[in-house]
Symmetry: C2
Subunit: 133 residues, 2 copies
DNA sequence: CGTTACGTTTACGTGCGCGTCAACTTTGCT
DNA sequence: AGCAAAGTTGACGCGCACGTAAACGTAACG
């Protein structure tokens, strides 16, 4: 088997974060490393969660928002009430992401337009320059 | 013509931001409202910029990053050096946005999978409940 | 003329997401 | 036994993006 657990340094190297960040996420209840004596050991579950955390951050979600969503990915043992509550949260999140995707596509389109305009401008300047030489 | 300029309150209502935010953006050189006496008047240009600012924020860009990019949308009078510099910045930004889009699509896919799994679990619970009645 | 409404500057306060010591165990060499 | 490496828990600090309160200007209205 590939290493079952990672110590804090291995975890940091694997995800390019600092120890401080991992401890901070644990304090915020985003990660739950097990303890070997006093030291933290990060499980496969923690690695999956951290991946989602970092992705969520890139999308502009707060750690608190992310914390709530992480439950969706680990609702193996939830009771029905908790499960459906989480499911509703996930629906909202999905809607938010799809809205973000639509807006992102629009923004990309606009930026491309602007860049085409800028490229033309640059071409004109280059032309002027060469004819003036 | 529709109102040429907006005062601060109209601007706030139009974009759902606070006066503090608009003044803050001006201090950070993201907006350049003209002055009528001491009061700010927001032009069409300011409205276009604010729209881009708010969008940029939703995508997780910092105000400083956004400030640099706003130049691309107003590089009417730039010299070639400045122009091509801005163009390069825009290329980077475009790449970042397209990467973000790809990752977003992946995340949406995964979330949908998880939700399907959750839906099934919920269905099972519902079934058990009805058979137990 | 007062006061009410709207805007202004100045400046300190706040929440988030960590960075950065300091002081202390624990572990593994040698 | 000694000592360095790696990890730990506080606790304070910091940059960002504003919130918020204080004190002031000014234009309009009754």
């Amino acid at each position: 088997m590939t290493t079952e657990t990672l110590n804090i340094r291995e975890m940091c190297d694997a995800f390019d974060v600092t120890p401080r960040t991992l401890r901070f996420y644990e304090a915020k209840e985003l990660l739950f490393p097990i303890r070997e004596g006093q030291k933290r050991l990060f499980t496969k579950r923690d690695r999956a969660r951290l991946k989602l955390i970092l992705r969520g951050k890139r999308f502009g979600f707060s750690l608190e928002e992310i914390r709530q969503l992480l439950d969706l990915y680990h609702m193996n043992d939830g009771q029905e009430a908790q499960l459906s509550k989480t499911y509703v949260l996930a629906e909202r999140h999905l809607a938010a992401m799809e809205a973000q995707k639509a807006e992102l596509e629009e923004a990309i389109g606009e930026l491309k337009e602007q860049m085409a305009w800028g490229a033309e401008k640059l071409a004109q300047l280059a032309k002027k320059k060469s004819s003036a030489a």
